[in-house]
Symmetry: C2
Subunit: 633 residues, 2 copies
């Protein structure tokens, strides 16, 4: 298997070997399967995206097929395939087969597959890699093909996409006669790596390596193609190739810039290739970018990319709350990237980021009902920001669908040396250790509502191997016992390491202390200075007007000490509610003043109620805040 990532210490246990039966994720996954995936099919139909593949469009007709419509279909096929892998469903299989049939139909004799450039601008194929999304769409279709093949065993879509990928390989590359281009929106790189690993065909890995390595080389390809279009390169609407991470070669990158989703998809491929080739320069670039992102440019929810202007990054510590863009797709990309980095050296700091994003800034993107979506995920709202059923640019909804359907991918890792538990998600799994010894894992927990985890570890035969249990970065105190007896253990990069001989039925209990905490942001974050966010375990909380009738945009929090929690099974699908002490000024007392001495305006005590940020805007609309000003303390 030459295409196994040879430089990774661990590999993810794929979701196909993970069965989830979890208080937090199971309801989300059921809604995703039963509501989100079917309704997205209807959106693909009703908006004309699927029918466009019939190639019946004629000039003058509405709607005009759009340059990135295929990517929406692709992500939906990927989500549906993940769903089918665990929950066979003839209806859904029918929908997927219809879509694949249409893609087969739309493919051109040379393998090309893009409706816009086939019908609308047939003479302009590959003429604007910078702004348009041909290779990006190809990438998503390739991801869909791999997912579909893995889930169903059918190679119908895989064959289509291998033909397309082979054609792309004849167009792009460093060889004479080929275009030395790459896509303005990275995506095809990580997709080709998946295709290479799934098919065992090294040419796809080589093409991915080319796309990543060529990016940012001078003279800029984007300059050259702009000139060929008769445009001045300096008239680029985004101003700088930092927008698409193409101003310097990727090995020289050290600061996250530009469009956040593009950045994450590129960095994911960089991490994959670092892993594949043992490329220390790529890995070092990833580590620099990670530091820059996670220490100065990430919301507490895992949201990234504060600015609507470039859908991306601005200045360090510029993390405004009410105007946060934090596009849903961006933390999804953040999870992809960090899960790659995690497996290089099993450093828990990457899993901390995966957890932060999954439990907060990603699933905030979908309503509990599964039928409405946020594109933008602000951390404060006056009450006017709401989820919508679909978007003209509909990247986020199917991206949510595919990640929720494949949560199982992020729970466990395996290697010949042992097993790692990265996320605490109840259910069963099969991992492989040693030279293939199967180990059944049964995880019982009410995480993230409770820090108690019971893990049954049952190798098919008595075996010595490492069990690594992630101790989340938010956890300051924990205990571990094996078969009821506390164990001495080392900790390594955020994981407790239990190295012993395991026998069927061994039970590990891990108890993570999970107090409510008032979290401060780095003081350079101007928007959060003097404020705190409420967090318990991995869950970031928010205050909504519906729970706090005095209005959450005008309350203060008195920090520390007095938080109480309770599980409310009837609220928001079942959540732990946090209550704490706050202060509120009396509106009547202020009726005649816009400004007055602080000492004459004493706020009154009020009990505040906080719910998980991810569940906001699922009830009566109103104000919402994550960062609450602190008074006293």
């Amino acid at each position: 298997m030459p295409l196994t990532p040879s430089h990774a210490r661990y590999a993810p246990v794929p979701f196909t070997r993970v069965t989830i039966d979890d208080v937090f994720w199971s309801p989300r996954m059921a809604v995703n399967r039963n509501v989100t995936v079917p309704m997205q099919y209807r959106q693909l139909k009703s908006t004309g995206r699927l029918d466009a593949l019939k190639l019946e469009w004629k000039p003058g007709q509405e709607p005009v097929p759009h340059i990135f419509w295929e990517s929406d279909i692709a992500k939906w096929i990927e989500a549906a395939s993940y769903s089918l892998a665990s929950h066979p469903d003839p209806n859904l299989t029918g929908m997927v087969d219809e879509a694949i049939g249409l893609l087969e139909h739309a493919q051109q004799p040379d393998g090309y597959l893009n409706v816009f450039y086939t019908l609308v601008e047939p003479t302009k194929r590959w003429s604007n890699l910078r702004d348009n999304h041909e290779l990006y769409c190809a990438g998503h279709l390739i991801e869909a093909a791999v997912a579909h093949s893995k889930a169903t065993g059918s190679d119908r879509l895989l064959n289509v996409m291998c033909r397309y990928a082979d054609y792309i390989g004849t167009v792009f590359g460093r060889e004479s006669g080929k275009k030395r281009g790459y896509c303005g929106h990275p995506e095809i790189e990580l997709a080709l790596i998946k295709l290479a690993r799934h098919t065992g065909e090294s040419r796809y890995m080589e093409l991915a390596t080319y796309f990543v390595s060529e990016r940012g080389a001078k003279p800029y390809y984007f300059d050259e193609e702009a000139c060929e279009r008769g445009e001045r390169p300096e008239a680029y609407w985004a101003g700088t190739y930092d927008y698409c991470q193409a101003s310097v070669p990727v090995r020289e990158l050290s600061r996250v810039t530009g469009h956040a989703v593009r950045a994450m998809y590129l960095y994911t491929a960089m991490a994959d290739l670092a892993c594949q080739h043992g490329d220390a320069d790529l890995l070092a670039a990833c580590e620099r970018l990670w530091q820059h992102l996670c220490l100065a440019n990430m919301y507490i929810t895992g949201g990234i990319g504060p600015s609507r202007h470039n859908e991306g990054f601005t200045a360090d510590y510029d993390l405004p709350n009410e105007t946060a863009y934090a596009e849903t797709c961006a933390p999804i990309g953040l999870v992809y990237w960090n899960s790659r980095l995690l497996h290089l050296d099993l450093d828990g700091k990457y899993a901390d980021i995966v957890e932060r994003a999954l439990y907060n800034g990603i699933i905030s993107g979908v309503s509990l009902g599964g039928d409405k979506f946020f594109y933008e995920n602000p951390l404060a709202s006056s009450g006017a920001h709401h989820r919508k059923e679909w978007f003209v640019c509909a990247c986020c909804p199917p991206n949510l669908a595919r990640i929720v359907a494949s949560i199982g991918d992020y729970v466990y890792s395996e290697s010949p040396a042992g097993i790692a538990v990265n996320l605490y998600v109840a259910g069963k799994a099969e991992a492989k250790v040693g030279d293939g010894t199967s180990v059944e894992l049964i995880q019982e927990t009410r995480y993230p509502w409770d820090g108690a985890i019971r893990l049954s570890v049952s190798p098919e035969q008595v075996s010595k191997f490492d069990l690594r249990l992630r101790i989340p970065g938010w956890c300051h105190k924990y205990s571990i016992a094996v078969n009821g007896v506390g164990v001495d253990h080392a900790t390594e990069k955020g994981y407790a390491l239990i190295s012993r001989t395991w026998t069927k039925g061994d039970v590990v209990t891990l108890t993570l202390d999970m107090p409510v905490e008032a979290i401060a942001a780095n003081p350079h974050v101007v928007a959060d200075l003097g404020r705190v966010a409420i967090q318990r375990g991995p869950i970031v909380y928010c205050l909504e007007d519906v729970d706090n009738p005095q209005g959450v945009r005008k309350v203060l929090l008195t920090p520390e000490g007095a938080f109480e929690t309770y599980y409310d099974a009837d609220l928001l699908g079942g959540v732990v509610v946090v209550e704490g002490n706050g202060l509120v000024y009396d509106d009547a007392d202020w009726a005649k003043d816009l400004y007055r001495p602080l000492k004459t305006a004493q706020p009154k005590p009020v009990r505040l109620r906080a719910v998980p940020y991810s569940t906001w805007d699922n009830r009566e609309s109103g104000g919402m805040v994550v960062w609450v000003p602190v008074m006293g303390g």
Copy 2:
């Protein structure tokens, strides 16, 4: 004198009878006279504004005369005239006479005077009152003419502008054959009122009354003229006539909307006419608008109009600090409006607004050197916002020049019943009481740096009259003595009332307690929740990085009790500095965290240094904040 505002209790003592010799204002006025006014003449020359009046422009030439260039010239003539009234200067007289000669030259045979519509679009006169600024420019020229006539006794410019006003009177009005229009940017209304009062010609008062009363009437004139231009009225770029305060008749207005400067100039004329005609409906509208503005839409600096988008108002309590627009012209208009309202009933709440704006959000607009100007006056800065020498749209610089040159207008009021002191500004004045008895006033004070005021009251003959001393809204404790003996006195609408028989050389001492205070904003102001501003007397303070090397955007203030003040004659032209206790987080301690529990991150004490907001950005550039988060207390 039928054109005296018959319904005002008091009249301002005009600046021509007020000599200022003040620690705060005299240096500002000297710089205005010696630097600002001459450099603005050079700007008017070098940018082509003055030369445009030669009417030599030909199509294709640059620069193209702009629709509101005359207004820049007009405000400069007004400022120069005020300066000449107190400080004769042959050079400046020459510059003013040159400008007036050019205006005479540019006037058309029918009285019309606007270079753009004379040369650039000669067929389109009066075709777009909504967006273009013909009547606005006429208004500023009229103000200039009145100022020049009063200051110099010359009627050269006055004659030009009476001809123009008379011509305008033939074009606009309710009579058959006239256009029932009014200007999108109010200004001519208040100007015509000044012209009427100065010339005694009631037709100008009638034309002003028409413009104010017709505004917002249906069918909308702006709709009709848009149709005549072949445009769809609903395609109006600003979306709604709220932008120009023309969606309802002015007597129905109750909420401040749209462009802030337009609003202030309109409200000033409304207050003038309420005063002139005893129009209770107009006065009631002014009072509603005042409440709405001053209780929910004004910065602590007196700045108004938070949004760059419409250069104006948004939603109640929407007062963001770093993005505050708060155009310099807007609080200048606020002073004009409130000084009119003040004289209706001598209610100190209006003088409080005049003082707040003059000492803070207006003079912040000009550098201490007098040669650079803010258009926007934010209340927080990362260090990138700086004053500039001039603007393409140059309304603010000459507006600053004219108000600084006429500060004397706002100090005293007079009536047959007595004298009111509205502002504490050292110098001499002559007021008139009874049936014309002259009273010499000598005010000695170091206000606003000190709350001690000594006022010598010397009537030319022994007289009984009221002396009203404003007790500022910020003052919670004060004492008054006459000739060294404490006096019992009534207070009325924010004024201490001393009613007695006065003899030459009587001395009143007023001591205003002037502690440093931490001021809170109404809790509905989301941007300021959990924060305070430092204020002492009328002066709003700010923190600048240059005084606080730890960085003012990351410090916290520990409220109350520990403020110290000292006068530093060498700093910023001489200011009282405020020092207080604050807290700052240690950068090194935070180097590895973007988020962490508040309790693990204790800030360290730091001494903070604050300077008057109006003086910010006069030294090394860096961060600035007015509203500082409060910790503890």
